[in-house]
Symmetry: D2
Subunit: 384 residues, 4 copies
């Protein structure tokens, strides 16, 4: 996967600035990814993919792409993480889930399917809901936001809650083809950063979803720590994106100083601290991914313990990433000075992109404070 990606880095780097300015999605890059099989990297070989299963490897791939352009990495993450979680469904789900997962994975493996996952409801409206369709199957209605990679998606996996008369609402994920009547992909992404990630809103108006195209999960209010594993797998590789941003800022800064030929005292101190922080950032992320891989594939104990341990490592690493990566980028701007403030300077994009890390789910900073402090103090489970 890394060598396939390597072929695209120059192209990604080249269009990064222009797409950032325009808030435009890098369509050509993803066409290349699709042709090379990058979009099927995490699909099992039997289903036509490259069979990458290691979260560490996916994280490293995203890190490498993010060094060239973080928006591209964020969009690519959508497809790669979906491959991983669908593979889990294909291997461990019941027959219905296996079938649905296999259909999507085969499409992803062949390059026919590009799958955008949307979790967050947009705005203040009612939550996105699945209600029984009188003709059978479901009707999906709502509005989703931050649907990265949506501009090229052929399918959408949409989080929703079921609303059925006489039954408690349940969590679900509906698979919807991009052709479905009632589905509109807006072109409304205009963020502070990650501007080329196509993180638009999706409007769903009474979209029909066939019976078999919904992954049903537990009751909305049920609390099942085993699910923390899936949530970790879905998101933990994104830590590589912010690491790649920090690495790119450091590399640009160090090479600029080398060209300038003289490093004043204040810059030396910041460079030394940047080296130390980047080292800590890379090793912390590496450790969290190693833990996630171990717990995903080798640990055979209690699924609730697995979920909690994965999430606890993930969240500790994430809190540090969201501290270290922005600090590194900010110090790089301080070292480079006024030149870095020009829109055309790569640091000015990295400064905006790196800030997205705080908002990445799970968890936001306040939720992470609650989660980590409760785990540590109340449950006392993790002493090391």
């Amino acid at each position: 996967m890394l060598s396939l990606i390597g072929n695209h880095l120059a192209a990604i780097r080249e269009c990064a600035r222009e797409n950032d300015r325009a808030g435009a999605f890098p369509f050509d890059v993803f066409t290349g990814f699709r042709k090379d099989g990058v979009l099927g990297a995490t699909v099992p070989r039997e289903l036509g993919g490259l069979g990458v299963t290691s979260l560490y490897d996916v994280c490293l791939a995203l890190l490498t792409v993010a060094e060239a352009d973080a928006s591209t990495a964020l969009a690519l993450h959508m497809q790669l993480s979906r491959g991983l979680t669908l593979t889990y469904e294909w291997q461990h789900g019941d027959a219905a889930r296996q079938q649905l997962a296999e259909r999507l994975l085969r499409g992803m493996g062949s390059g026919a399917a590009v799958v955008c996952t949307t979790v967050k409801d947009a705005g203040a409206g009612p939550p996105t809901s699945l209600t029984p369709d009188p003709v059978g199957g479901w009707r999906l209605t709502g509005r989703k936001t931050l649907a990265s990679m949506a501009p090229i998606a052929t399918h959408f996996v949409v989080s929703a809650r079921t609303e059925e008369p006489g039954r408690p609402p349940a969590q679900a994920a509906a698979v919807v083809s991009g052709q479905t009547a009632g589905l509109t992909v807006l072109d409304n992404w205009d963020g502070l950063g990650m501007r080329a990630s196509g993180s638009v809103d999706i409007v769903l108006e009474d979209c029909h979803v066939p019976e078999g195209d919904v992954f049903l999960r537990g009751a909305v209010d049920a609390h099942d720590d085993a699910q923390l594993a899936g949530r970790t797998v879905s998101s933990v590789t994104m830590l590589g994106i912010y690491t790649g941003i920090a690495q790119a800022a450091r590399d640009y800064t160090v090479s600029t100083l080398a060209r300038r030929g003289r490093t004043p005292a204040g810059a030396k101190a910041l460079v030394a601290e940047t080296e130390a922080r980047l080292y800590a950032l890379r090793t912390t992320v590496g450790a969290a991914l190693g833990t996630a891989d171990y717990l995903s594939y080798e640990y055979a104990g209690d699924p609730a313990v697995r979920g909690r341990r994965m999430m606890f490592a993930f969240q500790r690493a994430k809190l540090m990433v969201n501290k270290l990566a922005p600090d590194i980028v900010a110090d790089c701007l301080t070292v480079i000075g006024g030149a870095s403030y020009a829109g055309a300077n790569p640091l000015s994009r990295l400064y905006r992109d790196v800030r997205a890390g705080s908002f990445m789910h799970p968890f936001t900073y306040p939720d992470a404070v609650e989660y980590l402090s409760t785990e540590a103090v109340e449950t006392g489970r993790y002493d090391g």
Copy 2:
């Protein structure tokens, strides 16, 4: 001055986002400032201005404008600080300098003159130079950058070095009318932030400058601590701009939390620290401005001591401003979460604008480290 400015705040606030997006200068706002006399605020009453002399008051005015839009404050700073330094020339300069200063001040007082000062040479070309013009007077050639407020300037005060056969080069500031042949104001500002400040480049090609329109200073290599006073007066009020940005971020955040109605633990900690930092930011800036006022207007001792004391207080405050203000804004984004990452959210502009503080002269961070540590250790002059 504050009440005059108050009349414009709603208009400034209203166009801030759109001008930021487009990188457009707020022409209408400055038309209003000119009509109201705001642009002559720091011109002596005798010369048609409002007679504001207190650096503290100017800083507070810029703070108030910056709460609505920092770009506008940065551009306004150009005119207000020029009024202060020209008034000093008018009061203490020799006859030639008095005459030149008076001419400009009368223009600024009547609203006819808008004076943009440019210090920094653009790019890697030769330094901007004043050479003797065979027809008398000087010829000015070079390229300047970060000339905020240039889009509406009627005059430019351009730093340059004289190059005369048989004489050592001297520092000078040439006053050039915007109509001068050879002067071109580019429309090339495209910064990470401060996008509506019109901080463009100015190209000067053999511009004729009359003999009397140049302020001559000492030799280029001469070191005169007395000059630190003028450099402080020119720039210290800008500390208000970054204080205003931090205040705006805090106010938006606190009022948003109040509307949300529940503040989680992690947000409480950040809000408390934001309150404390903002308090320190305001009081530190206030103290530096109070010191600057005292030394400018009441201190009657050694001019070199005055210069050093003004600059030492200014640089200590500036280092803290460039630490506290970005930290406040970043924590506000963390508290508000994903919503703050939308281009339309005020925090996303404040996050970009606040970063300009590090690059503001004098000094950049590495230069400030050198300056402050040398003053403290080697000269031992300032024990308190």
Copy 3:
């Protein structure tokens, strides 16, 4: 007051290290303070004191003492702040309170009375209580801790709650002579720092307190924001102590570097940041004290508003003091290196002493987070 204190600084400095090692109280220094009238500094002139009323001035005096020895300053604070609050009682209390306050103040003014105030109950026992004494007056029972300056105190002001049959418990402060039967001053102070402050425990076993020797306050559960003013006056001047510690660390470091003659890059960066932080620390503390003085003596509005504004300024400053002062000291140790780790090096005492700031009431860090965030978000009272 400052010039009186100046006479003692050399002596304070000289015995600081030895008293710190031994955890011994500086009896001689306080004998000198008593003779000179320093212990009566905040007693009105009419009652024999120096009549200092300005909180700012008291803070500056404590800062100056703390530069020589923070423990001495902490102990001195006890007497000086008591003078201030008793003066308030003497001026604004009812006849009974005036009488009690006057008696104590006259003693403090003449040097006969040294008054130690104890607020915090020790350990896990029942709260210190005042119960009616069958012979009239009260009986005081309990155990207090952190009673700085107790080794030389002639009187103790002891916070307690009344417990009377048929009445709700009330807050009270009992004045107890050091001769009272049942009162024992332990010699049990052994802190990480502030080791010469004599912050021992006081045991009270059925001590008789005459009827008139108790200041009664409101019900235990009553919440009266006006009381925040008194709590601020009692403690806000302590901010000077931590400022003095930071100043001493900086002065030692800068003069050591000057002697060494070469300042490496990493040290330059830390020195520059220390200068900036110390400037912010001094100006922030100065501002909070200025506000406290204004609200104490000039503000004539709603007492609840006064209390809240005093405490809000105090707490914001305190949070910054507890961030800036330890950071300054820690960076000074880093700059000086291994030499600072010797027990005989002044920095090793400052490093321990400065940490006491976080525990100083009101408030601890968690309480300050709650207080400041609630004030800011929920009440929205303070926009600037």
Copy 4:
């Protein structure tokens, strides 16, 4: 080794406080270590030791001991790291070095030899020197400081420079028996922390050293990057000590909060950040040790490259350790509040001990700034 150490942890923990107070060396603990073979842990099996070669394992052992008492770990580090470097001499040195190393290692393996290494010269005297002894061999004169574990040492490895007529001075390490005439072990250690580590001064007055008991190294001014490997091996395992201190602070804090039963908002935020920092601390240290092991035992390339890579990883990790570990301990004090300020509270010892990390060689903070920034900017060797 870990299980052997495990047997002693309760005893170490028990006497930690009393030894810290008294500045006393834990003789009994080291008698136990000697009996169990812990003092020979890093001696090859063939020479009577346990044959531990992994730096990671030694670091983990020191971490575990440091959780109980950091002073003990610091003293133990002396012996364990000497075993590692002597084993290297035994395996790779010339015949003379092999013989000397083997003699010491056999002593360490049998428990007969306890070897204290001293690098730093004390005070301002002339550097410690080896001059030719007229009777053959050398004469060693000088004064060394910070010789941890000296109170029980049977041998000393003393850094010195040779001074021979007609030859350039060379670096050397002389092995001196504790019985040697002219050698005095002072009892003068009185540090801010690490008070039970016995880090005393050693006075050497014309001590005779046999010809074969000196390891000669290169010229004093020679710069050989290959030597960075040895310097890393000698010191990198100490990172575990500061990690153990941070872990102990966190464990005490979390268990205290669990007992208190309610965690306020401000404490939650600090606990969450402590968890994240400790995770980063452990993973960063683990990575640096893994790199050191790989380069020590598996890397077969250019010795200068090996030296530089080992040191670059070590120094980046060390800078983070010296940031993260003190921050963790300080935040734990803030969370626990006034109780942690009592001398008897474990946090008050950890607060003093953790500060030693900044002074540990190589390098101090200013030297690390110079080293890391130069490596990064000027040599550009390390891009990842």
